[in-house]
């Protein structure tokens, strides 16, 4: 799927980054890190894992910029790498949980990102934490393909076509996965809000 609305500044930025321009790479990172993080965070369910995924995805993306086709948006291409990387991590985590290693556990954190500053996140009271935990569990209970579709959709800015492009599946499949994901989440979290899955469009 090709998009003709790739702006010139992105084209130039990606071209420079492909030539090894460090400033251009840093600019791409700054521009798209938040979107990458939101998707990775929703799929993995953990801050530290999400940061690891973003880091790996950018390394991979910069390594393969020569393969990037300018007909697509860089963000779409990047999010595809992020999604695949996050799903890989989920699969690896499943294996790790099935075979617990001595001294290891689900909450093991990587050394690079372990010193997360919790004080930088004010306003999280117990109730919010409990709600967040329930939402996380409900999302985590989704099958990986539905979870990935939901994570991209939850950014609120991606079209059906872009989600399909990122996931590498047809648009009808995206619609179907979203439908079932929303339904399951609505059932699991029905008491939190009457339409927490967003059943109505406000226009």
């Amino acid at each position: 799927m090709k998009h003709s609305n790739v702006d010139n500044s992105e084209f130039s930025l990606v071209s420079r980054a492909a030539d090894g321009d460090r400033d251009a790479r840093r600019e791409l990172f700054t521009r798209y890190r938040d979107a990458a993080y939101r998707v990775a965070r929703r799929i993995t369910g953990r801050d530290e894992d999400a940061l690891d995924v973003v880091q790996d995805a950018f390394i991979k993306a910069f390594d393969r910029l020569g393969e990037f086709q300018h007909g697509s948006r860089f963000q779409t291409w990047l999010l595809r790498i992020v999604t695949n990387r996050a799903l890989d991590l989920l699969r690896a985590r499943k294996v790790r949980l099935a075979i617990p290693l001595a001294g290891g556990g689900e909450d093991d954190r990587g050394p690079v990102l372990a010193d997360r500053d919790e004080t930088a996140r004010p306003g999280r009271n117990m109730e919010n934490r409990e709600t967040a935990e329930r939402v996380h569990k409900a999302v985590a209970a989704l099958p990986p393909d539905q979870r990935a579709a939901f994570s991209l959709y939850a950014t609120g800015e991606m079209t059906y076509g872009q989600i399909a492009e990122v996931l590498g599946v047809p648009i009808g499949t995206v619609m179907s996965r979203l439908y079932h994901a929303r339904r399951k989440l609505h059932e699991a979290l029905a008491d939190l809000a009457p339409s927490c899955a967003g059943s109505e469009r406000e226009e």
């Binding site: 840093r26 790996d56 695949n84 699969r91 939402v135 999302v139 059906y160 979203l178």
Partner: protein, 188 residues
């Protein structure tokens, strides 16, 4: 599932208007097939943004701090340096990288080694049986090691392979070995 074209168009309109949740599972299944079969129908939906989630599901995760982003950026630069000089993965012709990035957890790597390890174990078992077994069928049958083994025939068919080997010292001893996909069978 015999929804008419009219019905499918009507369902598609509802989805495009953000009323996906009004559909039944059967209608979604029918519409999925229609969308995947019809580029025109898919085009109607391609540029639409699905209704974003509401309530607690809409809550954005707290963004990382600048300190954390700096650590990530440093990791990216370190990763890039590490990649320099390493052979890049051959492009597969697809517009995007392969969906499964080439990193496998240890358990998965072990699983992938299952077959060669099994073959090796069978080899060792055969060698041990040959070496230590006491001949019972006949006092004339002698089991001994040979440092001169000739593979006379070897065939690979599908996921199985077989070969016939004999001792090169002219004693006539033969081994027939068959390896199959799901189980290994050995015979001497």
């Amino acid at each position: 599932m015999n929804a008419s074209k009219h019905n499918l168009d009507e369902l598609l309109t509802r989805v495009a208007e953000g009323r996906l949740d009004e559909l039944t599972a059967e209608q979604v299944a029918a519409l999925e097939v229609h969308l995947n079969d019809s580029p025109e129908a898919a085009a109607k939906l391609a540029e639409r943004i699905p209704t974003p989630p509401a309530g607690p599901l809409a809550a954005e995760p707290a963004p990382p701090t600048e300190k954390e982003w700096d650590a990530v950026w440093n990791g990216i630069e370190a990763g890039e340096k590490k990649n320099e000089g390493e052979p890049s993965v051959a492009p597969d012709g697809a517009p995007f990288p392969p969906s499964h990035l080439p990193t496998f957890p240890q358990a998965q790597r072990l699983a992938r080694l299952w077959r060669p390890l099994s073959a090796l174990a069978a080899c060792v078992a055969l060698f041990a049986a040959w070496h230590f077994a006491t001949p019972t069928a006949s006092a004339d049958l002698e089991i001994s090691l040979s440092d001169d083994v000739v593979i006379e025939e070897m065939e690979i068919f599908g996921d199985a392979s077989a070969f016939v080997a004999y001792a090169g010292d002219g004693s006539g001893s033969a081994v027939i070995w068959i390896l199959e996909d799901d189980e290994e069978q050995t015979g001497a």
